[in-house]
Symmetry: C2
């Protein structure tokens, strides 16, 4: 496999050593900086050329009508879409009156590095203007993990060869012109002139803008201050207008002389606070940042990341590219969530406008399990956000005729924004997924306050939902009819195995919490009968099984459907949803993304080893992976049932989703859940990690491509290090309490700082599996 | 039951003896005149007050975008909507400069009569102007069955008491202002200023307008000429403008003196012909109408209707209101279809803009069976129209990935206009319904040319569709998965019994036609193997049956679903689709309209008598009749299985659908299929008529409410009269050939004009059935 031409392989950095203008849209996403609160796409400092300018604030969105050709009861009438807010990244450079623009003149050198340990995006460029003046520019950019309202840029320009007349314009620009959309329903609906100016102002070294959104009525403030270093003789002015704040610095640089500008940018936003409150909040954040200074911000950033990697690092021996990819993925998972306090983790993080900036089940199912084991504070924040939307979810359930809470399929602020109910509202599993994330977080962290508090609220209300969605069949079985599972190439089916099993877990967890926290149970009006009903429904949960072929049908009747005609489906027909009607897809055995296979990962006890192997082989043959959410799960189960090479191929696919732009839409933002699922493929797949009620279990296997790998997870506050070699695994609890884990089914207790080495049992024999023709994952051959 | 206050009971006429302004919207629909080519709503001559002005030309529509909140492959991007074209009904009257307007002054008398034998709408009104001048106005209106481009009005005004200065303005008005829609998705999307003027002109006694539609590019011409009778001293002028043609007559009438104006209105339209061609076509039609004169048009109208009623009349002894209702229904079925040559029969006929003027499966399933037995020329025209859309249907099938033809769920010109695919495109049964109408027409008429010609094209291409939609299951059974049956409270289910049985008939018919017309089979590339495949698939057709409860599930798994909570569904929650999400409806056992019960009517041989009784009882308990298409079918099967009183209640509901405005939307146009299903309830229900391969069978039963009933049908050119009394039936073949029929299973041969009387066997005993609480049909107690 040839490494991607645009990026160099490096264990701790993403490096671009040549600028390819066609790659700008993707590189803006992969070089995006975020702390989960503020997101800056990796746009060039000077703004142009660009694929898509992007400055996002978590939760800042606009409302747009959702039109329906034929309306129906309960359809959402308006949607939400993430907004590109005031751009504080902009630093325009004029060299002898010529705008610095790489489309003109000559670029002698270009290099960008995103360092996963420092959290800095570093850019170095040497450019010769059309008039022949050479300058060197170095910019370093960060979005602070420790000052969550702050981003900062250190910008340095040096004259080379000849003296140069330099003008820097450091700007805040609102209502930037955006490229016209391409009509892909998955891309964002662009909104123009969405920000209405309320106030603006400037002082000598900075400026601020306050706007509000037209319909969603969110007030957004942005401000900047600068410190400037360079020749004594310089002119600094600032000005502002409705959509523009600008600080201008003019100097003449002698050859070798540098002008250095540090720009601190702060954002504040609120749907409730007044204009002065938001304006002052921005000013205060700027004062704090200015006081910390560039070096202070940089140091704090490094310390924050050092701490993160101490708990979360993953090491591969023998595949430098995947090593880079996995760290890249973890870094972006962290960026999407670290400081998203009170807000969602969107499917694209804050790296682009894809999926309108919405959050889906992805967050709870794919992203939070990674964070729970590596940075549990972020999981807690994300679940707190979900909890904050419980009133909306209770309302929505009532509107749909259900009890309890029905969380939205896609949303920014908690209101359902799905315009196509069979693959939106009908995918009720999102509710069990959320409950599962709560249970998983509580198991791993032992956070009793959360379990008996916000967590119990969520688990209780989703259990109530299931009781009203399901019903008892004539044989007493608990059935969940007419809903949609994870696979979006099927819809509105009875007894989706994934959903039924997840609902079963949800009901059991609710019953257990009611027992554990009787006081809270009383507050929540949970009678003994209600809790007993949950447990009984869980016990009676119907799980269809096709005896004749020894396979679990994804839903009732699924294995009786016609097989998709893969032989006559050429590569140009993928993704299928863009070339075939749902009518055709839903009727046939073709799977967009792991569904039954995901059930086997999420609820391993519900399947025997033999069933897992048979099910995996069956679904492997009909799964086309038209979703980025599939490969990581297929990797995990492939590894579990013994297909180690195949698992490794899927691991690579998930991990390189965005670095290789495998779905051709990285330009709209990164696939945060797919990146998380790469980590999952490694840790749950080759590490065999499963979180149980009592302890965490491992079942490591070394993929043939590697000579070894190691990862860290943090269980009940204790960091565990797991080092895997071909024949053995070394477990170390770093500090903390004695910790009990399982190794391939055997329980062991880890004393602090006392490694235990365990042998790896032989791999079970499995018959080869196959994928639909042309849909095999690329064979991963690491370059050593 | 109290007769509707607005209309008087009369066996051959609809009579309104008082004007209730609130009832205008409905009365405009019930008093609408049409010949299937031109439709005039029953607006008052003077235009105002009105519910909705309506002048429709079959096929004249505008295109409007179909917005989708989330787009999908194969979704139609534009829809079609029927247009209100130039209004030629308008005759404004000024009495001493005061506009005649019933909202002012005093109405001393008002009477409107629609006579089903003359085809005239007669209006008599005596009005006193605010200034105290009294006038009598009588207008008679017809839309000619024999001159299909012509409508005409005879308008007479008489001064009462004092001399009156009278001005008549007879007009053509384009782009009338329409009331704003109420947002009900079922009502038409109103389009304003849809007509663009191309030409206009006037001559002393008339005027014309030519417009084209903005997007669909249909050219529409309208013209009028007048003959005037009255005082010698009168002034007549005409003028025209872009959207107005006007002829003005001014006279002074002495008390008792009358002014009489006959207005001939002609329409011509085309998507292809030039402006002069359309203009001249209108002028030519006017010349012919003028030559026939008012008396000539009236006489031809009467002759046409006398002939119709000779073949089609239905008589009830003991229920005058239903007698009126059944003739009202048949009259409107005829009006919707008689001269629709080359165009569809819309769901509302040409009586209103409801459902955007679209045609659905209603036409073939409910309307054409009536016409086939009473006025088969109309069926032939309607099927010719379907055939003309075969190219669109072949294209649509290819787009959907199917072989053969996929006819649209709703359309005006043959292109799919359904904006919600689960209850639109997925309802593939429409294709078998169309094939069934072909087969039924051919059986009843023995029209060999049609059978081996256009009919065979349709039946062949729909059979090919089924072969590609269905597939062989692992036991060799032929399955049709993931489609939607007639019941719109379920969708996307496997093996809908109705659809599977209808597809089975379609496949068998195709195989038989291929055998009967080998030359045409060759033209259509039907190999022996293909035809054998159709027969084999039909033989292997899977029909699910729930052994445990002895009932056919509507679709796989249906009888395992949760029952709808009828006990907690109040009357204010109907129709359910406006109060509950599809997500909830689809998951549960609740039926909007006959589905499995319709299957039992359409394919009686597929069920035993005991199964029919059990199935009927089962579905009766869960069918809410939120569709106007249900009651007639429930009546037919209720009568068959022995619930005669219940059948009569349903008969009344179907028949009085519009006269009583039972669905509260008669204002948007009549429910033509429901009216047809009233006839069906009588003839297929109490008459027990079924059309078999070899002969027509009857199984009459007298409903307890009646002392007798009689009906006529026309089989292979021979009119049959069936007279039913409590214990016996008298069959008479009027003229024609000896005809073989079945009476309660016994074959008898009818010699021309030789009545045969047969006894009625005793009624089988059946256990009572029940409906969902509150959804029982009104108990019908006829007023003797």
């Amino acid at each position: 496999m040839i490494p991607h031409p645009a990026y160099d392989v490096d264990p701790w950095r993403l490096v671009e050593s040549a600028l390819e203008p066609d790659m700008l849209p993707q590189s803006e996403s992969v070089f995006a900086l975020s702390n989960g609160h503020i997101g800056w796409r990796g746009n060039l400092d000077e703004g142009e050329p660009h694929g898509l300018p992007g400055t996002y604030l978590n939760g800042v969105h606009e409302i747009r009508p959702l039109p329906h050709a034929e309306a129906g009861y309960g359809y959402p009438e308006s949607g939400q879409t993430i907004l590109n807010v005031s751009n504080g990244k902009l630093i325009r450079l004029l060299v002898d009156d010529e705008p610095f623009d790489i489309r003109y003149g000559v670029v002698h050198a270009h290099r960008r590095e995103l360092d996963f340990r420092t959290g800095l995006l570093d850019r170095q460029v040497e450019w010769e203007s059309p008039a022949g003046q050479v300058v060197r520019v170095r910019s370093q950019r960060l979005v602070s993990f420790t000052h969550r309202a702050i981003a900062a840029i250190r910008y340095e320009v040096e004259a080379v060869g000849e003296p140069a007349r330099i003008v820097l314009q450091s700007e805040l620009v609102a209502n930037e012109q955006l490229p016209v959309g391409n009509g892909d329903p998955r891309a964002s609906a662009m909104l123009h002139d969405a920000l209405v100016s309320e106030d603006h102002g400037s002082r000598p070294n900075g400026a601020y803008l306050v706007h509000h959104t037209r319909r969603s009525e969110i007030r957004v403030g942005a401000g900047m201050v600068h410190t400037i270093d360079g020749p004594e003789k310089r002119e600094i002015t600032s000005d502002s207008a409705a959509d523009l704040g600008r600080t201008t610095v003019a100097v003449v640089l002698q050859p070798g002389e540098k002008l250095t500008l540090v720009k601190y940018v702060a954002y504040g936003w609120s749907g409730r606070r007044s204009l002065p409150a938001v304006r002052d909040q921005v000013a205060a954040a700027l004062v704090a940042a200015h006081r910390a200074g560039w070096d202070g911000l940089r140091t704090e950033q490094r310390e924050f990341l050092d701490q993160f990697w101490t708990n979360a690092d993953i090491q591969l021996d023998g595949d430098p590219e995947l090593q880079q990819g996995l760290r890249f993925g973890l870094f972006h998972v962290l960026q999407a969530s670290a400081r998203s306090e009170g807000r969602a983790v969107p499917a694209k993080g804050l790296t682009g406008p894809g999926y309108d900036g919405h959050t889906f089940w992805d967050a709870e199912t794919f992203v939070l399990p990674v964070l729970t084991l590596t940075y549990p504070e972020a999981t807690k924040h994300a679940l707190r956000w979900r909890h904050s939307t419980l009133p909306s979810a209770l309302d929505r359930a009532r509107q749909l005729g259900f009890a309890g809470a029905a969380f939205p399929w896609r949303t920014i602020d908690g209101a359902e924004c799905s315009g196509y109910w069979p693959a939106g509202t009908a995918a009720l599993h999102v509710n069990a997924d959320i409950a599962d994330a709560v249970v998983n977080y509580c198991r791993v962290t032992d956070d009793q306050d959360f379990a008996g508090g916000l967590g119990m609220d969520i688990v209780t209300q989703t259990a109530r939902l299931w009781m009203s969605v399901g019903h008892r069949g004539r044989d007493g079985e608990f059935r969940i009819d007419g809903i949609t599972g994870p696979d979006e190439y099927s819809a509105i089916a009875d007894n989706n195995v994934y959903t039924n099993l997840m609902a079963q877990q949800n009901l059991r967890a609710a019953a257990q919490l009611a027992k554990r926290f009787p006081g809270r149970a009383k507050e929540l009006d949970i009678s003994a009968a209600e809790a007993a009903g949950w447990a009984a429904a869980a016990d009676a949960m119907y799980v269809p099984y096709d005896e004749k072929i020894g396979v679990h049908p994804q839903s009732d009747g699924f294995t009786r459907h016609q097989f998709w005609d893969f032989a006559n489906t050429g590569p140009e027909h993928y993704p299928l949803l863009l070339h075939f009607p749902y009518l055709d897809l839903y009727r046939k055995q073709v799977v967009k993304q792991a569904d039954l296979v995901l059930a086997m990962q999420q609820y391993p006890e519900a399947f025997t080893a033999a069933q897992k192997a048979r099910n995996f082989a069956y679904y492997e043959a009909i799964t086309v992976r038209d979703s980025s959410l599939s490969a990581g799960t297929q990797a995990a189960i492939a590894a579990e049932v013994g297909h180690l090479e195949l698992a490794y191929d899927y691991l690579a696919e998930a991990t390189l989703m965005d670095l290789r732009d495998l779905e051709h839409n990285t330009s709209d933002g990164l696939h945060i859940a797919a990146l998380a699922s790469g980590w999952n493929a490694m840790v749950a797949g080759f590490g065999g990690l499963r979180v149980g009620d009592e302890c965490v279990s491992f079942a490591p296997r070394l993929p043939p491509a590697l000579t070894g790998f190691a990862f860290r997870v943090c269980v009940r506050g204790t960091p565990l290090r797991v080092e895997v070699r071909a024949d053995s695994v070394r477990y170390t609890a770093l500090d903390g309490q004695p910790t009990c884990v399982r190794h391939h089914g055997e329980t062991i207790t880890l004393e602090p700082d006392t490694p235990v080495t365990m042998p790896i049992p032989p791999l079970p024999e499995v018959a080869p599996v196959h994928q639909p023709p042309g849909r095999e994952p690329s064979r991963r051959r690491p370059i050593r």
